[in-house]
């Protein structure tokens, strides 16, 4: 067997092993590390429920329940950042909880929104997995004049790795590993078949005699 073929096959088996490790990591279920419950009311205002720092090994599972129409958000900033932005852009003291200022902030900083949705008298659950170490804020805003009651529950989950990212990588690595290893495997099988043929042929010949 040519040397380059052996090197390629060993690279293939190594990449395959790395892919298997990624696959195994992606199978490890997340462990709950803390729960948080809160509630609030919105009427042309916005409120924050949870703030913290998440690492790539953590996930935030949030459940929002409202008895009216509200917008729910997961922001990749601290509430302080939003307040600072509002005070910077409005030199005169303003009501920071006013939804207009919050919307202005979101329009100017769309990258700070990790996820958002609108709920109408319903419950919604969203699991947020950060791709880097980030500040996180769960927020709710209500644009209507009616007072809407919102309940918020969240649990922090610790996982070994960002599952979706690792799953994709494992698929790629395993596929590359198989492709690289196939020529070596086929040669190995052919060599085995040849050996078996050689071993059976003399016996058949002697049986004929």
């Amino acid at each position: 067997m040519k040397r380059w073929s052996v090197i390629l096959s060993r690279v293939g088996t190594t990449v395959f092993a790395i892919g298997l490790a990624f696959f195994l990591v992606s199978l490890i279920p997340p462990t709950p590390t803390g729960d948080f419950i809160s509630s609030g009311y919105v009427s042309k205002t916005w409120v924050t429920f949870y703030e913290g720092v998440l690492t790539p090994q953590q996930r935030l599972r949030s459940t929002f329940t409202a008895n009216g129409t509200v917008n729910v958000y997961i922001l990749e900033v601290t509430p302080r950042t939003v307040y600072d932005w509002i005070s910077e852009h409005h030199p005169v003291p303003v009501d920071y909880s006013n939804v207009t200022y919050f919307d202005q902030y979101l329009d100017s900083n769309p990258t700070s929104v990790a996820w958002q949705d609108e709920i109408r008298n319903q419950t919604i659950t969203y699991e947020y997995t950060p791709t880097k170490t980030v500040n996180i804020t769960s927020a709710v805003s209500g644009h209507g004049p009616d007072v809407v009651s919102t309940n918020y529950e969240c649990s922090l989950l610790r996982s070994v790795a960002p599952t979706s990212k690792v799953q994709v990588l494992s698929e790629i690595a395993i596929s590359i590993g198989i492709v690289f290893t196939l020529p070596w495997l086929s040669k190995l099988l052919r060599a085995k078949k040849r050996r078996e043929d050689r071993a059976t042929t003399p016996r058949e010949e002697s049986g004929l005699r």
Binding site: M1, K2, R3, V6, R10, T13, T14, F16, A17, I18, L20, A21, F22, L24, V25, G52, V53, T55, P56, Q57, T131, K132, T133, V160, A161, P162, K165, V166, L169
Partner: protein, 270 residues
């Protein structure tokens, strides 16, 4: 692996690679490095306030290194102490002398396989896995990540240099392997003892001497206490101090390997 025509150096390198990384050694270690990176990574400093981003990059990288460096050392022990030692013990090394190569080139080929490939696999797999886990830490602070690896790997490489010398002098694979493991743990124990004594007596000398062999100590003290007023601990090295200790420790590592080369080329009777 069949041997074909090629340069003698590559021939010996191919033979050494074939011997050091028989299936599935390479695969098992790559698997363990990936798994270990995810299992041991700790982002506890990332959630703390009042810490610099460099400190976070340093602590996240350091968190991976403890157990995984030992796994790396197992491969080095197997290849250098047991592999090379057994080759000398069984007289296999004498067949290499029939190649038109100087002794130092033969040793280079053996070390490139035993240490170079192990190190490339360790660093390649670990840094890639760390990047997958925390791209925001690895990409902007790649220099800090590399510096942490350089500081942390100096001590294992010194052990590798010492076990090379021991394997060459004793010409016994098994004994070199045992002594390598003893060196590895003994130096670790001494480091902890010196650290305790230095903290108790508020003396910097012990820490400075240990940093010559294990410069990660100096780098750790720099990141942990940078910004603290002088006198907050027995010794708060500056960044330049940490770099000097890393450089000095690699000079010691280089000396150990040069001694090995000198002994193998000039003094060793086979």
């Amino acid at each position: 692996m069949t041997t074909g025509k090629g340069s003698p150096f590559l021939e010996i390198l191919a033979l050494a690679l074939n011997e050091d990384y028989r299936f599935p050694i390479l695969e098992v270690f790559a698997f363990l490095y990936v798994l270990g990176t995810f299992a041991f990574a700790s982002f506890s400093s990332a959630t703390s306030t009042n810490v610099t981003s460099e400190y976070v990059a340093y602590t996240v990288t350091s968190s991976l290194l403890g157990a995984l460096v030992f796994i790396f050392m197992i491969l080095v022990f197997k290849n250098v102490a047991y592999g090379l030692g057994s080759d000398i013990e069984k007289g296999i090394i004498q067949t290499y002398f029939s190649y038109p190569l100087k002794r130092r080139s033969i040793l280079s080929a053996k070390l490139l396989s035993a240490l170079g490939v192990s190190l490339a696999l360790f660093l390649g797999v670990q840094i890639s896995s760390l990047y997958i886990l925390a791209p925001d830490i690895v990409a902007p602070y790649f220099g800090t990540v590399l510096l942490t690896y350089a500081a942390s790997l100096s001590y294992p490489l010194l052990i590798a240099g010492l076990i090379l010398l021991v394997a060459l002098i004793l010409k016994r694979g098994g004994l070199a392997l045992v002594l390598g493991i003893v060196f590895y743990f003994a130096l670790g124990i001494i480091q902890n003892l010196v650290m305790s004594i230095s903290l108790a007596t508020n003396s910097a000398l012990g820490l400075q001497i240990m940093s010559l062999f294990s410069p990660n100590l100096a780098l750790n003290l720099y990141y942990q206490f940078s910004g603290y007023p002088p006198g907050s601990g027995p010794w708060i090295p500056s960044f330049t101090d940490a770099l000097i200790y890393i450089g000095a420790s690699y000079a010691i590592v280089l000396s150990a390997f040069l001694l090995g080369y000198f002994y193998f080329s000039r003094r060793m009777n086979l």
